[in-house]
């Protein structure tokens, strides 16, 4: 059925615009490349998940389950911290003028630009018990590096730009007159934030949250150095995939990877549904 519709679509399309050349060639290249690079590997993933006799048995291993829980739980907490601090950061960068603002604004993308291995060793050195911040925190009795807190630090670090860059345009679109109107109607600061600003900004905050989460669940390079990698305690799911692969357990690795992919897909879909449900007019506006 889909094929038939596609054919009609193609016929109509070719009748309408025959002037520009190269459609067949470029579409062919695109599809061939995507087929080899994206579709074939994902088909192999599905193949390895569904074949084999153990099914999803690997998830019952306590070590695997602990790692998945740590990765998903850590990513949720880190994405939440990013959402709060990212919103504040975006607000300050858009609305306030202070020396160094443009520099900070450009630096927000640093976690994107810095190779993850470099951020990993830099954060570890910074937060190690003898590091600049770690030593200071050590005196307060807080150990960051080689604990779950350290994992959280790395995950917050790599998630920052997702929220800030998602929220910044929304704040730029926000007319300050809304806040003035709220104030002139007698709203205090908190009420203005809760009733006027937050409803306008939270869809973009949610988008940033979901993207930070999706990135954090699978993050590897910046985490493994600071994590300590103790089984059941500070071992993240991606590291367990690496370990399974070293043991040639392709099926087990594929199952863990599928759970990770499904969790990011789940959060992305949930956030999309939440946005559509809460702001039906936005959908109409963008459509």
């Amino acid at each position: 059925m889909a094929g038939v519709m596609e054919q009609h679509g193609f016929q109509r399309f070719f009748r309408q615009r025959g002037v520009l050349p190269g459609f067949g060639l470029t579409l062919g290249i695109t599809l061939a490349y995507l087929g080899i690079m994206v579709i074939l590997p994902f088909a192999a993933l599905m193949g390895f998940v569904t074949t084999g006799t153990q099914g999803w048995q690997v998830l019952h291993e306590p070590r695997v389950w602990a790692a998945i829980r740590l990765s998903i739980g850590g990513a949720l907490i880190a994405a939440f911290i990013d959402a709060v601090l990212g919103l504040v950061t975006a607000w300050v960068l858009v609305r306030y003028q202070f020396p160094g603002r443009r520099l900070l604004d450009a630096l927000v993308d640093l976690p994107f630009a810095l190779p993850t291995a470099v951020s990993g060793i830099a954060l570890t050195t910074l937060f190690a018990p003898n590091g600049w911040l770690g030593g200071w925190l050590h005196h307060l009795g807080v150990q960051v590096a080689y604990t779950q807190v350290g994992i959280l630090v790395a995950l917050v670090f790599i998630g920052v730009p997702f929220v800030v860059r998602a929220v910044q345009p929304a704040i730029e679109d926000l007319d300050p007159e809304w806040e003035e109107a709220a104030t002139s109607l007698g709203a205090g600061r908190w009420a203005t934030f809760r009733r006027v600003l937050f409803p306008a900004l939270w869809p973009s905050v949610l988008t940033g949250f979901a993207m930070a989460f999706a990135r954090a669940v699978g993050e590897y390079g910046s985490v493994i150095f600071i994590a300590g990698n103790l089984p059941n305690r500070t071992e993240i799911a991606p590291l367990l995939i690496v370990i399974k692969l070293e043991q040639y357990d392709y099926h087990g690795a594929a199952v863990i990877a599928t759970v990770m992919l499904l969790s990011s897909l789940g959060v992305l879909l949930a956030v999309g549904a939440l946005q559509n449900w809460s702001q039906p007019w936005q959908k109409a506006a963008t459509a």
Partner: protein, 312 residues
């Protein structure tokens, strides 16, 4: 306006925006009154939080890299980056980055041409497939390649019997890098090509230009900044990729270690200064890409304004 001022005077100043100031601005020029004329308690506190947050999480790690790199002096630094293993890692990294960049630029141009200039069924699906690699964990990318090309993977046995080795060899590293950077050029080009429409190309075609002439003389000059932007993002990411490359490289010293893997090896051998020296090279690449990004974004912004003025 005057009455508004009277009301607003006895109210608290929300988010640090001073309202009275606008009284003497003529109506027409009321733009974004975004910048506070006076600093309120809230704005100072929020700015303080942001400076501490970004300072701890972004600025300090950056400083740590360079301080640690030069901790044992310039001589150790130079020795670390001119070490034969480091040099082969640099060579391999550049080679892989150039390969991935070439492949993905070709793909990005092709994808942007068919998706940006034409409407056809299935277009959304292809766009979604192009975006997919961004949200896949680097380690999962490595896993996917092992499942296809590894010894026990779908094609691994067949390729090995023909003497082709992909996993634990350079082709695997190139594939992994190309996968994680796949969308970067295409994503910049597709919206740009779409926004520019097809009128100029159609005109060139009707004036007798052939397909390649249309592309090189009409399309390419129009998309050059977006293309450059995509190339910068792609190169920086390709040189720094760690997780995906780590899974498929096998860490064969002097053969399949890229710069980030070399950093890992040095760090795990407690040669911290050397690790940070090599890391500082990658950091410089990252910083250059940030500067280029800021610069190119400004150009893109100005172009958009220019287009708007032309349209008006």
């Amino acid at each position: 306006m005057a009455s508004f001022e009277c009301v607003s005077l006895d109210l608290p100043d929300v988010t640090g925006i001073a309202m009275g100031k606008n009284g003497d601005v003529p109506e027409g020029s009321v733009q974004r009154r975004a910048r506070p004329a006076t600093w309120s308690w809230t704005s100072v506190a929020l700015t303080g939080i942001v400076i501490v947050f970004l300072g701890t999480f972004l600025v300090l790690p950056l400083i740590v890299v360079f301080v640690e790199a030069f901790r044992q002096g310039v001589r150790v630094y130079l020795a670390a980056i001119s070490d034969p293993e480091a040099l082969t890692a640099i060579k391999l990294t550049l080679c892989v980055a150039v390969m991935a960049l070439t492949i993905n630029t070709g793909f990005g141009l092709a994808a942007a041409w068919c998706l940006g200039k034409f409407r056809f069924p299935g277009r959304q699906l292809i766009t979604a497939l192009i975006d997919l690699p961004i949200s896949v964990s680097p380690v999962v990318v490595g896993l996917l390649l092992v499942l296809v090309y590894g010894r026990h993977g779908w094609l691994g046995g067949f390729l090995e019997s023909h003497g082709l080795r992909i996993i634990f060899a350079t082709p695997g590293i190139i594939l992994a890098t190309a996968f994680v950077t796949l969308p970067l050029v295409a994503r910049e080009l597709i919206p740009t090509m779409e926004a520019q429409g097809t009128e100029q190309e159609e005109a060139a075609r009707l004036l007798g230009a052939n397909g390649w002439q249309v592309f090189f003389y009409v399309t390419l000059p129009n998309i050059r900044w977006a293309l450059l932007y995509g190339v910068v993002l792609c190169t920086a990411r390709a040189m720094g990729e760690f997780g995906a490359v780590s899974v498929v490289s096998g860490h064969i010293r002097g053969l399949t270690t890229t710069l980030p893997l070399h950093v890992e090896i040095l760090y795990n051998e407690y040669r911290f200064s050397a690790a940070f020296a090599v890391a500082s090279l990658l950091t410089l690449v990252g910083l250059v890409s940030l500067v280029a990004k800021t610069f190119l974004e400004r150009i893109a912004h100005q172009q958009r304004i220019g287009l708007k003025h032309k349209g008006a």
